[in-house]
C-alpha cells in the first residue's frame, strides 16, 4: 500500500512503470570515482524514497491494525510493534541488497567486456588513461631510471593540470619528474608546450618527438 502511495506520488512526474523499474535497477549501485552516490528517481534521492516507504508501511500497519481492532474487538492488537518495525526495515534492506546485487552483476558484465580477450597485463586504467598512455610513449623512448626536467604549459598548481602531472609522474616512474631523488637531472620531458623545440638547448640531445607539443631528450655527454 505504501509502495502504491509512493508510486501515486511519483505519478506527477509522468509515471512510467517500466522506466521506474529500469531506474530502480540502476539506482543502488552506481560506482562513481571513489564514491557511491545515491541514485535518483524522478529527481528524488532513492534513499529518501526508501525511508518514505518504510515510514508509510509502518503507519499503514498501525492503521490497519487499529481499524481491525476497532471493528472486531475479538482480534488481537499487534503483539510487539518494535519487532514489526524491525521486520519492515529488514525487508527493505533485503530488497535493496537484491537490487544492488543485480546492479553489481550488470556492472561486472559491462566492465568485464572492457578488457575481454585482453591478457592480464594489458588491463589499462579507466581513469587517467591519457597519462598512462603518454607515459608509455616517453618510457619507450627513454627506458630505465632517469631524473627528468618536466616542462609544460599546463597549470600544475590547479586541477586538471595538477592531477594530470601527478598521474603522469606515477606512470613515468622510475623516470622521476617530481624531484623525489633530489639529484641532478639527466633528461628532459617536454609535454604540451607551445614551441617545445625552444626547450632543447645545446645541453640536450633529442630522443624523440612525441607530438607537435611534446618531446623527450637526454643530456649530452661532454
Amino acid at each position: 500500500m505504501s509502495l502504491i502511495l509512493v508510486m501515486v506520488g511519483l505519478s506527477r512526474f509522468d509515471f512510467d512503470f517500466a522506466s521506474i523499474i529500469s531506474k530502480l535497477l540502476k539506482s543502488f549501485y552506481r560506482p562513481g570515482y571513489n564514491l557511491i552516490p545515491a541514485g535518483y528517481l524522478y529527481e528524488i534521492n532513492i534513499m529518501t524514497l526508501i525511508y518514505l516507504v518504510i515510514v508509510l508501511t509502518i503507519l499503514n500497519l498501525y492503521l490497519i491494525n487499529f481499524l481491525i481492532f476497532k471493528f472486531n474487538k475479538k482480534s488481537k492488537p499487534l503483539k510487539n510493534s518494535f519487532e514489526d518495525i524491525k521486520k519492515i526495515i529488514i525487508i527493505s534492506l533485503i530488497v535493496i541488497i537484491f537490487l544492488q546485487t543485480i546492479n553489481q552483476i550488470n556492472y561486472s558484465i559491462k566492465e568485464f567486456n572492457t578488457f575481454k580477450n585482453l591478457p592480464f597485463h594489458s588491463h589499462r586504467p579507466q581513469f587517467f588513461t591519457d597519462a598512462a598512455q603518454i607515459a608509455q610513449l616517453y618510457k619507450k623512448n627513454l627506458p630505465g631510471k632517469h631524473n627528468a626536467y618536466f616542462k609544460t604549459d599546463l597549470n600544475m598548481s590547479a586541477d586538471p593540470g595538477m592531477l594530470f602531472h601527478r598521474a603522469l609522474a606515477y606512470y613515468l616512474y622510475p623516470i622521476d619528474i617530481r624531484n623525489t631523488r633530489n639529484d641532478s637531472k639527466d633528461s628532459l620531458i617536454v609535454f604540451q608546450k607551445n614551441d617545445p623545440m625552444s626547450e632543447l638547448t645545446d645541453d640536450w640531445q633529442l630522443l624523440a618527438i612525441i607530438d607537435d607539443k611534446s618531446l623527450v631528450a637526454i643530456r649530452k655527454i661532454k
Partner: protein
C-alpha cells in the same frame, strides 16, 4: 606459476611471522584457525613495515634479501621459542559459545547469507585483480611512494609526496613488488582484499562468540551490503587498512576484557600502534583506543590498582613505541605535518558550523549509496534496544567507541577550520572514507543489540 609463487611468498612470510607471534602471545586454542590467521596477517605486515622503516632509517637498501633475511631469522627465533613454550603450556579449554543448534529456517538463512558473502568476496577479488591502480590517492601518493621504494630501494629521507604520512601501506605494496621482481599495477594491490577479508573474519568470530552463528553472518551481510566497503576493499586506498587495524584493536580489547590475558593485550597494543602507522588519523584514534582501555580498566572491579597499572603499561608501551618511532624520525629529519588545520573557529561561526556539520553527517550516513541502510538500522536498534546497550558490556563499549569516533570528527568539523578538508564540497570523498574507518562497528553493534539470548527470548520484550 613463478608469479603465483612470488605472490604467495609475499603473503605467506608475514602471515607466518604473525601466526607465530599470535601463537606465542595467546594461549593454545584461544583463537580458532581462521580468526588467528586473520589477525596474523595484519600483525605480520605491521611488523614487516616496521622492519622496512628501520632499514630505511639506517639507509640499508630495501632489497629482497635485506628484508627477507631478518624476517626469516625472526621466524626461526620465534619458532624455537614457540616450541619451547608449547611444551610447557597446557592447551586452553576451548572457549565455546552457546552452541544451540540453529533451527531449520535459520540454517537455510545462514546458507543464503553464506552465498551472499561468498558472492561479495568474489566481487572484491574480481575488482582488485581486474583493474590496475587507478584511483587518485592510490596512485599519486600511496602507489607513487611504493614505486619509489621499489625502484630506488629507499624512502629518500621522506622526500616523497606527503612525506609525513605513515608508510605501512606503501611498504607493503613495495614488498609485494620486491617479491615479484617487477612493478605490477594490479598485483601490488594484493594486500587490500586480504585485509578486507581478514577484517570480516575477525568481525564474524567476535560477533559469533558473543551471539551466535546467525548474528555473526547477519553482521557480515550488513558490512558487505555497504557499497563503499566493497569499493574500498579493492581500489588501493589506506582507509580499509586503518579500518582493519582500528576495529581489530577494539575487538581485541573487548576480548581482553572477557579473558584478561596479558599476551592478548600485547597483541591489541601492537595493532593500536599499527593504526598510527597506517594513516595520520591514527594519531587521533590512538587516544580513543587508550580511552577505551582506561574505561575497561576502570570498570574492572576484580583488578587491584597495581594490576591495573601493570596492564596499562603493557598496553601503552608497544603501541606508543610504534607511534613515536615514526613521528620522531620525521621530526628529526624535518618532515612535519604541522599546519593551520587545528586552528579554532570564532565563537560566532560555531553555531552555523554545527548546523552544517549535522547536515553533512546526516546526508552522508543516510542519503548516499555508500552504507545502505546500516546506519538507519543502527539508529533504530539503539532506540528500540536501549536497555541492551546500557546493560550489556560489549555492546556498551562498542557503542561508546563509535560515539568517540563520531565525537572526534564532529568536534573537529564544528570547532576548527578543518571542516572544508573533511566535509567541504572540495573534498567530496573524505568524510565517507573517514566513516569507513569505524564503519564495521555499526554492523557489529546492530548484531549485538538485536541478538536475544535464548533465556531472554522467552520473556516478553519491554
Amino acid at each position: 606459476m613463478i608469479l603465483l609463487l612470488n605472490i604467495v611468498a609475499s603473503t605467506l612470510i608475514p602471515l607466518w611471522l604473525g601466526y607465530l607471534l599470535t601463537s606465542i602471545l595467546t594461549p593454545r586454542g584461544f583463537f580458532r584457525i581462521l580468526p588467528k590467521l586473520a589477525i596474523s596477517y595484519g600483525l605480520g605486515i605491521g611488523i614487516l613495515s616496521q622492519l622496512m622503516l628501520i632499514l630505511s632509517i639506517l639507509e640499508i637498501p630495501l632489497k629482497l634479501n635485506n628484508i627477507r633475511l631478518p624476517l626469516i631469522f625472526l621466524i626461526i627465533l620465534l619458532t624455537i621459542y614457540y616450541f619451547m613454550k608449547a611444551q610447557k603450556q597446557n592447551p586452553l579449554q576451548e572457549i565455546s559459545t552457546q552452541s544451540i543448534k540453529p533451527s531449520f529456517l535459520q540454517q537455510r538463512l545462514i546458507l543464503l547469507m553464506f552465498f551472499y558473502i561468498g558472492y561479495n568476496i568474489l566481487f572484491i577479488l574480481w575488482r582488485t585483480f581486474y583493474f590496475p591502480i587507478q584511483h587518485w590517492d592510490a596512485m599519486a601518493t600511496i602507489g607513487f611512494k611504493a614505486k619509489v621504494m621499489f625502484f630506488d630501494q629507499t624512502i629518500h629521507r621522506l622526500n616523497l609526496p606527503w612525506g609525513s604520512y605513515p608508510l605501512l601501506v606503501p611498504f607493503t605494496e613495495s614488498w609485494t613488488a620486491i617479491n615479484l621482481g617487477y612493478w605490477d599495477d594490479i598485483l601490488v594491490k594484493t594486500m587490500f582484499p586480504i585485509i578486507s577479508i581478514c577484517l570480516l573474519i575477525v568481525q564474524y568470530s567476535f560477533v559469533k562468540e558473543i551471539t551466535n552463528k546467525l548474528w555473526g553472518m547477519i553482521s557480515l551481510c550488513l558490512t558487505l551490503s555497504s557499497n563503499f566497503y566493497i569499493m574500498h576493499s579493492s581500489i588501493g586506498y589506506r582507509d580499509i587498512v586503518i579500518s582493519y587495524y582500528s576495529c581489530v584493536s577494539i575487538i581485541l580489547l573487548l576480548i581482553w576484557n572477557k579473558h584478561a590475558h596479558a599476551g592478548l593485550l600485547v597483541l591489541a597494543s601492537l595493532f593500536t600502534g599499527f593504526v598510527t602507522f597506517t594513516k595520520l588519523e591514527g594519531t587521533g584514534y590512538i587516544f580513543i583506543l587508550y580511552a577505551l582501555f582506561i574505561l575497561i580498566l576502570t570498570c574492572r572491579k576484580s583488578l587491584n590498582l597495581s594490576a591495573k597499572l601493570k596492564y596499562l603499561t603493557i598496553y601503552l608501551i608497544p603501541s606508543f613505541l610504534i607511534f613515536i618511532a615514526f613521528h620522531l624520525y620525521k621530526n628529526l629529519i624535518g618532515v612535519t605535518n604541522l599546519d593551520q588545520r587545528t586552528q579554532l573557529l570564532n565563537p560566532d561561526q560555531i553555531l552555523f558550523r554545527f548546523k552544517t556539520t549535522c547536515l553533512v553527517f546526516f546526508e552522508n550516513l543516510f542519503l548516499t549509496g555508500n552504507w545502505n541502510l546500516v546506519w538507519f538500522l543502527l539508529l533504530i536498534s539503539i532506540v528500540l534496544r536501549w536497555r541492551v546497550l546500557r546493560n550489556q558490556e560489549e555492546t556498551f563499549l562498542t557503542g561508546l567507541t563509535l560515539l568517540m569516533f563520531f565525537g572526534l570528527y564532529f568536534s573537529i568539523c564544528t570547532f576548527t577550520v578543518s571542516f572544508n578538508p573533511i566535509a567541504g564540497e572540495a573534498s567530496p570523498t573524505v568524510l565517507s572514507r573517514i566513516i569507513l574507518h569505524f564503519f564495521p562497528l555499526a554492523p557489529i553493534l546492530v548484531a549485538l543489540l538485536n541478538y536475544k539470548k535464548p533465556s531472554d527470548a522467552q520473556t516478553p520484550t519491554p
